[in-house]
């Protein structure tokens, strides 16, 4: 097979429950997770888009990787239909309950197993774990450069330049390849799945499934037993039951009624 020209990007994506649909069960006071529809972690779509734009411009290829149960195949198929070339699913019971340390380790091993990479993309954080630690953790394991919280990236030969959003403005970082880039939610309009992409997925053969043993992942470094952190307990946050007084209709009246109600409740001065 001829060497493909252009950079190889590897995008790490996770499938998460749709945040908006998570509800606290009023009886058990725990989060209702079963039956909640899932989606690709929203910032990971922006990560896919950034990688695909680099491919549009410079050629090369985009691989997508996920670690999780076989149902995560749905996320991989969607990424393939957006335009990724190949997908890798790391799935193994040994991985259950992994926190960010084993997750970053296992994903970095998958990346090494794939063999050769110029750019690794992650989302800024997931909506279910929301740590943002996995991307920098992968960079730590790979001992390569990292640029986090990026909204734009451009390839300049064997270097990458990315615009990074920080609290007080924007920084532009530049580093040699390979590099891990984490991508901000809302930083782009991720492309939809294409029809040809969907057909390619249907034809099959694009997804490689690996176990820990296939990759050479040390079983003593993954899973709940080898995760430094545990969730000891979860308290449900009980918020005040706010009975919204809703006003509608004529704007003038609605505003007058709102202000009267707020004055009556002592929220604002008469």
């Amino acid at each position: 097979m001829p060497e493909p020209k252009g950079p190889r990007s590897i995008v790490c994506i996770k499938q998460v429950p749709k945040a908006q649909e998570l509800q606290v069960d009023p009886v058990t006071n725990t989060l209702k997770r079963v039956g909640v529809p899932s989606e690709i972690n929203p910032p990971d779509r922006n990560a896919l888009e950034m990688a695909l734009q680099i491919k549009d411009k410079h050629g090369g290829e985009v691989f997508v990787v996920t670690m999780g149960p076989p149902v995560f195949t749905a996320a991989l198929e969607e990424a393939l239909a957006m335009g990724c070339d190949r997908a890798f699913l790391l799935t193994d019971r040994l991985l259950g309950g992994s926190d960010t340390v084993p997750t970053a380790y296992a994903l970095s091993e998958v990346i090494l197993k794939i063999g050769g990479y110029d750019l690794v993309f992650c989302g800024e954080e997931t909506t279910d774990a929301s740590t943002g630690h996995v991307g920098p953790g992968i960079a730590g394991h790979l001992d390569c450069a990292q640029i986090t919280y990026c909204s734009e990236a451009e390839l300049l030969g064997d270097r990458v330049r990315a615009r990074r959003a920080v609290e007080d403005g924007f920084e532009t970082w530049e580093c040699p390849l390979p590099c891990v880039i984490t991508v901000n939610f809302l930083s782009s309009q991720p492309r939809p799945e294409s029809l040809t992409g969907k057909i390619r997925v249907k034809r099959g053969g694009l997804i490689t499934t690996w176990s820990c043993a296939d990759v050479g992942i040390d079983p003593n470094k993954v899973g709940i037993r080898n995760s430094p952190t545990i969730v000891a307990k979860v308290d449900t946050v009980v918020l005040p039951d706010r009975k919204a007084k809703i006003f509608r209709g004529d704007p003038k009246e609605a505003v007058a009624n709102l202000l009267d109600a707020m004055v009556a409740d002592g929220v604002i001065a008469p």
């Binding site: 945040a19 908006q20 998570l22 606290v24 989060l31 960010t100 340390v101 380790y105 954080e125 909506t127 279910d128 929301s130 740590t131 943002g132 630690h133 991307g135 920098p136 953790g137 960079a139 730590g140 394991h141 990292q146 986090t148 919280y149 959003a165 920080v166 609290e167 007080d168 920084e171 532009t172 970082w173 530049e174 580093c175 901000n184 939610f185 809302l186 930083s187 995760s227 952190t229 545990i230 969730v231 000891a232 979860v234 308290d235 449900t236 946050v237 706010r242 009975k243 919204a244 007084k245 006003f247 509608r248 704007p251 505003v255 709102l258 202000l259 707020m262 409740d265 929220v267 604002i268």
Partner: protein
């Protein structure tokens, strides 16, 4: 890097001191106060780690805010935060001095650093904590919101040391500064290589807020979302906020559209506010937004869509077009004020 597993070898509470443009970040000072409390509970002391260039005065400042000792790593190449050399500073010093607890501000840089460091050290790191306790076994109980603030998770790191956590800005009060308080400043050498500095920062575009009142301190916050459609429409919210003596905030979508600076952002990846009154204008009420304002005393929502989630946590709502409602609110509040002034004057 493999750290020894014997937990009894680890002592002391550390704070990563984040310097930004010649000053210490507020969150670093806030954490010195919390570190002091935790150190007292553990019968130990507080150290700061300060990498930077010409930052010794900041080390003295940290001591006045409660650090017993500051490990100072000065190098012109550390003038701005960069992932690799800062990780090496932390990893080297942790290996050398073995702290029991290391705290970071949950800023972009704090999370960038912590994320890389915890993988290198293979120890636990909890993100975005809002509270810490010491459990009965002497472990740090790291408490953080999960699922967009719908629950609070207690994270423990029982077998590994150090126990590391990042904490959100402005959840811990800044401790009082004690001018003249003394402590040790210990310069440390770190074995850098060329490769550690292979990343360069080409540009920095500062975005100042221009607004006086900080939203996290304001008693009333008027926030605008994507429904505002255009940055110039924030003028309307400024007028409303001015009438009420409040400050202007925003949803992330409005911030990411470039309409207002990041400092305005309320939510999970922005600021947490608990004002007396929060007015959400043209904001749909995504969990990540609610995470930053759901503890407000009273909430008002203005939205065209009666099904918007924001109404579920509102005390008052107007279903209607913000372009009619907001100017009308400004007008009527002015009218009421004028009326009040007249009635006072004629009494």
């Amino acid at each position: 890097m493999t750290l020894p597993r014997d937990k009894s070898l680890y002592k002391g509470v550390w704070v990563f001191l984040e310097a930004r443009q010649g000053t210490l970040r507020d969150v670093s000072l806030q954490l010195l106060g919390e570190a002091r409390r935790l150190a007292d509970l553990r019968g130990t002391d507080v150290s700061g780690v300060l990498p930077g260039h010409a930052v010794e005065p900041l080390a003295r400042e940290a001591i006045e805010y409660g650090a017993d000792r500051v490990y100072l790593v000065e190098d012109p190449r550390l003038a701005s935060y960069r992932s690799r050399p800062y990780t090496k500073v932390m990893a080297s010093l942790i290996e050398r001095h073995r702290p029991e607890i290391v705290l970071f501000g949950a800023t972009k840089n704090g999370r960038d650093l912590g994320g890389r460091l915890h993988a290198v050290l293979e120890t636990g790191l909890a993100a975005d904590c809002v509270k810490f306790e010491i459990d009965k076994d002497g472990n740090l109980d790291m408490i953080r919101p999960s699922f967009g603030g719908k629950s609070l998770a207690h994270i423990l790191c029982k077998q590994h040391r150090p126990q590391m956590a990042s904490a959100r800005p402005n959840v811990f009060p800044k401790p009082p500064r004690k001018p003249g308080r003394t402590g040790e400043i210990l310069p440390e050498a770190v074995p850098f290589t060329e490769k550690d500095f292979d990343t360069t920062i080409a540009t920095f575009e500062e975005r100042r807020t221009g607004q006086e009142a900080k939203i996290e301190e304001a008693r009333i916050v008027v926030s605008g979302g994507y429904g505002l459609r255009d940055p110039k429409n924030f003028k309307m919210l400024e007028e409303l906020a001015a009438e009420l003596g409040g400050a202007v905030g925003a949803s992330r979508k409005a911030v990411d559209a470039g309409w207002v600076p990041k400092a305005y952002q309320v939510g999970q990846t922005g600021k947490t506010v608990r004002p007396k009154l929060y007015i959400a204008v043209g904001i749909s009420g995504a969990v990540q937004h609610l995470a930053g304002m759901q503890e407000s005393e009273k909430i008002v929502a203005v939205n065209l869509d009666h099904k918007a989630s924001i109404f579920e946590i509102a005390d008052y709502g107007i279903v209607g077009d913000l372009f009619q409602i907001v100017p009308e609110m400004v007008r009527q509040i002015r009218e009421r004020k004028a009326h009040r002034a007249v009635s006072v004057a004629t009494r």
